[in-house]
Symmetry: C2
Subunit: 290 residues, 2 copies
């Protein structure tokens, strides 16, 4: 949970419980889907969806399904990324990963089903106008798809055991993490029916925030506390993965993190004082210790 934004995290957990209460799904599929989604985590993405709606003066009830959809896609991507053929991680947030708790086949299918469910709940959200729903679906598919998040994972895998340069690293993280985080902010703008300038401001803020988030992750992989993070410190370095720290060094990475924070805040200028909570959450993201 994000300090100062706990109510959003509590709201999303309730909403995810509702969405994952499916009577017609056989076990262990449903159990694995629930395990992959309801296993903790900071809920940063849905928090950003709610917060962006709130900042733009829109009732949060309109954002519930959108916030769930983003978290379902995020959860599916983690389940698949953890698989033996991918990052081969046995633990996430201090608990066995989905394929360890269940088995590989169930984990693959649970991930598949969570992706499908994300689009299903967006399409069926009758509180939103048809055009709004379609915009959300298009935006999510773009940022989570073959030229967005999945492209990022492909580049990440191909970069294992080989060094990539600073530009390649940023391209990878922009797609793997930045795109989906930026989508959270755009979701708020779409649901609120915001004008183009506001949408673009949210988009730019989201991209900078997404990169800041990833740089911080890479820094925590070196400087963090194992118990707090719930995975071994130095696991990225151990996998010989290129990170912002391995490419730039710790000092330069920290400098880049601060640059991104400045960029993110600057992007919000068109919103004026309404943007305060978005400044606050950006500060949290670079100060966090897990």
């Amino acid at each position: 949970m994000i300090e100062g934004f706990e109510s959003f995290a509590e709201r999303i957990i309730q909403q995810l419980e509702l969405v994952l209460n499916q009577s017609d799904v056989p076990d262990p599929l449903l159990e694995a889907m629930r395990y992959g989604v309801l296993n903790g985590g900071k809920r940063i993405r849905p928090t950003l969806v709610y917060l962006s709606c709130d900042v733009l003066g829109t009732d949060l009830v309109l954002a519930d399904k959108a916030a769930c959809a983003i978290e379902l896609v995020h959860a599916y991507s983690l389940i698949h990324d953890d698989l033996p053929a991918m990052d081969n991680d046995d633990f996430r947030r201090g608990k066995p990963t989905c394929h360890i708790k269940f088995d590989e086949a169930t984990a693959i299918l649970a991930g598949d089903a969570l992706q499908t469910l994300a689009f299903e709940i967006l399409a069926g959200e009758t509180l939103l106008a048809a055009d709004t729903r379609l915009s959300l679906i298009s935006e999510l598919a773009r940022s989570a798809g073959a030229s967005g998040m999945i492209a990022g994972q492909v580049i990440d895998l191909s970069a294992e055991n080989e060094l990539i340069d600073a530009l390649g690293l940023e391209n990878m993280h922009r797609r793997k993490t930045g795109d989906l985080i930026s989508t959270c902010l755009k979701f708020g703008a779409i649901i609120a029916g915001a004008d183009l300038q506001t949408r673009e401001a949210m988009h730019q803020y989201g991209l900078a925030l997404g990169l800041a988030f990833q740089i911080k992750d890479d820094i925590l992989d070196v400087t963090g506390d194992e118990q707090t993070i719930g995975k071994p410190i130095g696991s990225d370095a151990g996998n010989e993965k290129s990170t912002f720290v391995s490419v730039h060094g710790l000092e330069e990475a920290t400098c880049k993190l601060n640059q991104r924070l400045v960029e993110a805040k600057a992007a919000l200028e068109p919103l004026g004082s309404r943007a305060k909570p978005l400044h606050k959450i950006a500060d949290f993201i670079i100060r966090r210790n897990l």
Copy 2:
């Protein structure tokens, strides 16, 4: 290709080429996506989408993206089903499966990306009204999701090495194959803006046809020609999978196949003489030898 319906198969291949012509997708991801989709196959599902539109008097151009979306979802499900953790198949249609041709990680991600792309092209099909697009997305997500196709695969995997009864077998195939085939027919009715009676007729026809299709597959696994089918004969029996033939015997399975054909045709009565091509394709499906 389906005899007498070759023009639909040619059309879908052209359309899939267009949809998979993506400049921003890194290799080998794009290559694996294309390999999984453009590797032959009978194109039964998109043919059914086109045919149902045609029968209901709708321009095929309105059905292009819907036909592609179904085939992308079908292709993604095959890529994932073939994985070592699932059915562990090295060959499909006489060619190496996606994870053999590329690697497991790429195959998993290509499947993921094909699913995303299916929803993306439906959401972006501006030739169709917003409500129509949402209906297609909801229908596809329902039939391909955790209570449909994916549920079928979960039941299938849990039924390996243990016998399931006739009812369980039918439930599995209704979800694993029948739901998506039925969706092809419903897609036609949705795009054509058909009345409820017609939609229901298409739905019932699709369910019966889907089961007939699966029974025929199980029969071909025992009686078919290895070279024609492109996979070893008896591979299902060898995997100790329950099939319509293993559960009912060959004679009874053939009898059930014919029953389903009768049911499928009977469901079409409300359509009158317009339904002729749908009778013809049902006949083809039970007479095919691959």
